[in-house]
Symmetry: none
Subunit: 288 residues, 2 copies
């Protein structure tokens, strides 16, 4: 990092000492990092409440890093903001440069930004085309299923793996058809009536996924397909088809909308099952 401002320097110092800090002060450090852009207009008390500590802990924190108290530490943030706010033209400049320079000199940073942009658009469309009826139907199926199988390959496998992880926190029995040892067939084999299969596949549809969907359908299991269109090969075997049109940029297809939809599906199911996980920043031991 070329030029770091006072705040960055300070936060670095905090990061260095972080490990040796008492529990509460660590909490404050995290809070500061998280809210670095608005510390300048917070009172000690805001910081204290935000960090779940007593105001005096905040003062001690500041003193530990060489300031006379909170006020002096806060000044660092305030001044940094002021410096930044004054040459406000620079932001406008940057935007213009990016837009103007776009056609040829695409550097990887711009590529990254564009890609993220594409993902945002994808999510916008997801909301817009959100099909309430189908979504509900999908939740219904999952709610009623005794066992839930999940299958996807290649690009979509990550999604399946996430769903399996998430559903693992419910009472349902969950089977991820991961094809380990080439055993797709064997893994789906025991599916039957009363079960549900979540099959995720996009063009050019993976044959393992199609196979599983077909088998599940034959066995009278319910099939929830997540795919791109009602016309694809998955549609034939699906009881509910959730449509996702992923954005693509630079010839790469995004994955954000699909995963977002799947998470939404899971959250909805969790609420339906009255599974209320602990409120808060992280969900117990399940994250990683």
């Amino acid at each position: 990092m070329a030029v770091s401002n006072a705040v960055d320097q300070f936060m670095r110092r905090v990061a260095d000492e972080f490990e040796s800090l008492p529990r509460q002060l660590q909490g404050i450090a995290r809070y500061l990092e998280q809210h670095r852009s608005s510390i300048m207009l917070q009172k000690v008390n805001d910081v204290a409440v935000g960090s779940n500590v007593h105001p005096s802990a905040v003062v001690r924190f500041a003193q530990r890093f060489g300031y006379s108290g909170f006020s002096e530490m806060q000044a660092v943030f305030r001044d940094a903001f002021r410096e930044r706010a004054e040459p406000s033209g620079s932001y406008q400049h940057r935007i213009r440069r990016v837009i103007a320079g776009r056609p040829e000199q695409l550097d990887e940073t711009q590529i990254a930004r564009s890609f993220i942009d594409a993902c945002r658009v994808g999510l916008d469309e997801l909301v817009e085309r959100f099909d309430v009826t189908r979504f509900r139907a999908a939740v219904d199926l999952l709610e009623q299923a005794e066992q839930i199988y999940i299958v996807a390959v290649r690009r979509s496998f990550a999604i399946a793996s996430y769903i399996a992880y998430a559903l693992g926190h419910t009472q349902k029995r969950v089977h991820l058809v991961d094809g380990l040892g080439g055993m797709h067939r064997e893994q789906i084999h025991s599916i039957g009536k009363g079960d549900a299969l979540i099959a995720i596949s996009f063009p050019p549809y993976g044959k393992e996924t199609l196979f599983c969907a077909r088998l599940a359908h034959q066995r009278k299991a319910k099939v929830i397909a997540i795919s791109e269109s009602d016309l694809g090969p998955l549609a034939a075997h699906a009881n509910v088809l959730l449509k996702v049109e992923e954005a693509s940029a630079f010839a790469f297809r995004a994955l954000t909308s699909t995963i977002c939809l799947c998470q939404a599906l899971f959250v909805a199911l969790a609420y339906r099952l009255e599974l209320k996980p602990n409120e808060g920043a992280h969900t117990g031991d399940y994250d990683a």
Copy 2:
């Protein structure tokens, strides 16, 4: 501009009455207009000095416009800033309102929509806080690595699995540390100088991931950490830390921002390697 914010409205009111204001109060009005963007962090005294008047004049000014005093008037500026600077704050608010406002009649459809919304906000923040330097550094490391290892557990495993899939399309040798058979240790064991490790972990950090990061670091391999903050335990072992602050809603943490960042990383790398996959909607046979 369609909807004007509170500050604009207020300044308009001031402009209207300007002519009928006593000399000093006019001075204050000019000062406010000139410094509207930093009033939020000024004291009455700053404004008074800046306008060459007595502090009480500033209070009188505020009262003339219907506020109880300077503090109340300042709040207008502060709140306006907060709304702009922290769309995330407003997001938290919105979520809280949704939850608090209609505790019972939250149906799963609304939940799903809110969740998708949260993801969108998350992507907005991702763009906003995008750290160019670090991102480039990460691409550099990957470009130079001979072999690339990827590790993540539980919630983040899906991400790792996607990265492994994507990198599989480059010339790099890719190793997904998936812990199959409890063999995290064995899988990371052969990492060494010249290699890179991508480690993804969020609170409460998975110990397998930490172990791999530590080992990689000891072995002089480069470590790219994808995590929530510079203060977490991954930071100590990382050469580059890419920060992602996932939105969370209904006590579930989103995954969209993380996966979006990882895809962007891959796209950037692909371009760097001058790997130009076929233009078009889907990338050959690799999708599923």
